[in-house]
């Protein structure tokens, strides 16, 4: 059915013929007989990946195939979302090995973007926990791959933004937990230097991430709240929690009912928000035990929170620079603060080392922030890109809607290898998205129908 689709940033929007499948053979037949398409999960990446004139949507392809509660091995079709997996595995004492900040992504999407979580420095990306998966190739054939089995296909699929084929079946290892609670520690840092010191001090914590105030200048430049966590043991819980240690959190959800006018978010409202957010932690350090839900998924409690950025949508800008490029991080933060780009959600994290073909993380600092789309924004972001590259960093494709092809090429050293693997498994270049065309990874063979994408800001 033809309809307008967009990812979480609501930018860009594209008309697409989206096809849903329950049966694998139906999906394979469609893939074989369709000239060009892109796989698509729940549309929770931010930019223009997974947008195309034809999309193979997997959200109804969501069946659980096996789950061994003794060993924690889970096997499913690719369209199941993380929240559905959690509902089944948490009561049995298991958790996702890696989770991003939303549980509304599909397992297929988690692999296509090779997502990371607050535990990247300890547990790596999602793909590190995958034992094997099936890929439906452009010609309709299915290949099983994994570490040590069609390794080239496996590596190019993890973080490959769907370009190798449709992930159909995945088998991965879960993480053992004693309780569904998180022992949380929040530490206030007065500035960037301090938060970096704190990251170092607490590097043994499984989960760590910092909220950072991008607008504060002077002495308080880069003031942050470092949020740390460990899965709580039974002994960490109070008597009431101990009575049901693996309880699922209660579903409390509100919906953002409409798009906020874009003027609501500006330098002053963001500054006020940051002031309150930083100030709400009265003490230097807070220690408490919370359910996994507010710890990992604070924003999932508000459905459609992306509407807060208005109808024009927003860009989530996320980059990583190597450890030794702290100066680069400072320069970029200064630029962001000067231009008043600060957002409610600026997140700083330190990645552990990783060497992957096309995955985003590398050892270093990563910063992510949401910025509403407005006039002049893309020029500013181009400037930031130059600094990122100058310091040997790169951008996250899953968040991207606007980087230039050169930026991708300079950031991802293994790009030529990646492209040759894609070509091997999809020789006719059938699998393409608006993003892959824009980044020059695939060649545009037709004229896609853009609705807002041609708008220049």
């Amino acid at each position: 059915m033809k309809k307008d689709i967009a990812n979480w940033g609501n930018y860009p929007v594209m008309e697409s013929d989206e096809q849903n499948f329950i049966m694998l053979d139906d999906m394979a037949r469609y893939v074989r007989n369709t000239e060009t398409f892109i796989p698509r999960g729940n549309g929770r990446c931010y930019g223009d990946a997974s947008l195309a004139g034809n999309t193979v949507c997997t959200v109804k392809f969501d069946k659980i195939l096996s789950f061994d509660a003794a060993t924690g091995v889970f096997e499913c079709q690719s369209g199941i979302t993380l929240d559905q997996v959690l509902e089944v595995v948490v009561p049995k004492g298991w958790f996702l090995p890696v989770t991003p900040g939303t549980k509304f992504i599909t397992i297929g999407g988690a692999i296509a973007s090779d997502v990371h979580g607050k535990n990247h420095h300890i547990d790596g990306c999602f793909s590190h926990h995958v034992e094997e998966m099936d890929i439906l190739l452009a010609d309709g054939n299915i290949i099983t791959c994994g570490p040590g089995l069609h390794t080239d296909l496996f590596e190019a699929t993890c973080g490959g933004m769907g370009l190798t084929g449709v992930i159909t079946r995945v088998r991965f290892r879960l993480k053992k937990i004693e309780t569904s609670y998180i022992r949380q520690k929040q530490v206030k840092a007065a500035n960037l230097e301090e938060v970096i010191r704190l990251f170092e001090k607490y590097k043994d914590y499984t989960y760590s991430v910092a909220w950072i105030d991008c607008l504060k200048k002077g002495k308080g430049f880069g003031r942050s709240i470092l949020i740390l966590g460990e899965h709580a043991n039974l002994s960490d819980l109070d008597a009431k929690q101990q009575s049901a240690p693996l309880q699922l959190p209660k579903k409390k959800q509100i919906t953002f009912p409409f798009n906020l006018p874009s003027w609501v978010l500006n330098r002053f409202t963001v500054k006020a928000f940051n002031f309150l957010y930083y100030g709400k932690n009265f003490k230097k350090e807070i220690n408490n035990t919370v359910s996994y839900e507010p710890f990992f998924y604070p924003l999932d409690a508000i459905l459609h929170w992306n509407r807060g950025y208005g109808r024009k949508g927003f860009i989530q800008y996320q980059f990583v620079v190597p450890m030794e490029a702290k100066q680069g991080l400072i320069e970029i933060l200064q630029r962001i603060s000067d231009k008043g780009l600060g957002s409610f959600l600026a997140v700083l994290k330190i990645f552990g080392s990783q060497d992957s073909l096309i995955g985003f993380p590398m050892e270093g600092y990563t910063l992510a922030l949401d910025i509403p789309v407005r006039k002049g924004l893309f020029e500013i972001l181009d400037e930031l890109d130059r600094i990122v590259l100058q310091y040997g960093g790169r951008l996250y494709m899953s968040k991207d809607a606007r980087m230039r092809p050169e930026v991708l090429k300079a950031g991802y050293q293994h790009l030529p290898q990646f492209l040759s693997i894609v070509k091997k498994y999809d020789p006719h270049g059938k699998i393409r998205s608006m993003q892959s065309d824009r980044l020059g990874l695939t060649s545009q063979v037709d004229t896609p129908v853009y609705t807002h994408a041609n708008t220049t800001y």
Binding site: M1, M23, D25, I64
Partner: protein, 243 residues
């Protein structure tokens, strides 16, 4: 826990109904053609809801196999829900007897054949519940789909008569009258959003109606009133309309 038999388990509506009943703790028997294709659904229901789900080969068009099919079910189902249907192509059915007879056979003859067997077994047991998914298309023939509509009209009348007969044997019969539903059967059709139900809504309606022993339910309640209006248009006017 009671067992629910779902006839025609591969459709979107059937999958939603199976999920609903499984989530309430019922064991599920999934019956369809090429039932091995439903293995993922089988494992999914068992793992998510800790229930027993089984697969059974069933073809609505092969009436001669229905007796053996039903007697082979272990345990015999407490509730039978007849979900299968075939919309077909009206235009084709007007000149192609194969298409036309298939529409009649799947929606009417096949359904009557299997439900006769189920009904007799429930009468013998003195208990049981039968639900049939018919369609509002059966309430008045329209040029756009009267072959399908007439088969569903037959099915609706059958269910009504069956309800009357089985009432005296403590067996309940529910007729479900969905309007438009978003399924693969209707994919690509420009359906009016406010009038169209999701398969999950149908499932919830069916579940509640079975619990409350309702006789006839519409999915999206206003379809009852829409159909009332459509049925009350005098024939001399109705025949001139393009519906």
């Amino acid at each position: 826990m009671p067992t629910v038999l779902i006839l025609g388990a591969s459709s979107d509506m059937a999958v939603a109904i199976a999920k609903k009943f499984a989530s309430e703790g019922f064991d599920i028997q999934l019956a369809a053609r090429n039932s091995s294709r439903l293995q993922p659904l089988q494992s999914d229901l068992s793992i998510r809801y800790n229930i027993t789900a089984t697969l059974h080969e069933f073809d609505a068009e092969k009436e001669e196999s229905h007796e053996v099919f039903f007697s082979s079910l272990q345990p015999g189902p407490d509730i039978t829900i007849c979900v299968f249907g075939y919309l077909g192509e009206q235009k084709k059915a007007e000149s192609d007897w194969k298409e036309c007879s298939r529409i009649i056979q799947v929606n009417y003859t096949g359904a009557v054949s299997i439900l006769n067997i189920v009904a007799n077994s429930y009468v013998d047991a003195g208990k049981g519940i039968i639900a049939g998914i018919s369609s509002v298309a059966g309430e008045r023939g329209r040029q756009s789909n009267y072959v399908y509509g007439s088969a569903k009209a037959g099915f609706t009348a059958y269910l009504s008569g069956l309800r009357n007969r089985l009432f005296h044997h403590k067996v309940h019969v529910l007729s479900v009258q969905p309007g438009f539903v978003y399924t693969r059967m209707t994919e690509g059709m420009p359906l009016p959003k406010p009038l169209t139900a999701k398969p999950e809504e149908v499932a919830t309606v069916v579940y509640k109606a079975i619990l409350k022993k309702k006789n006839v339910v519409y999915v999206k309640w206003f379809w009852r009133w829409i159909m009332l209006i459509i049925k009350s248009i005098p024939e001399f006017m109705f025949k001139k309309l393009k519906l």
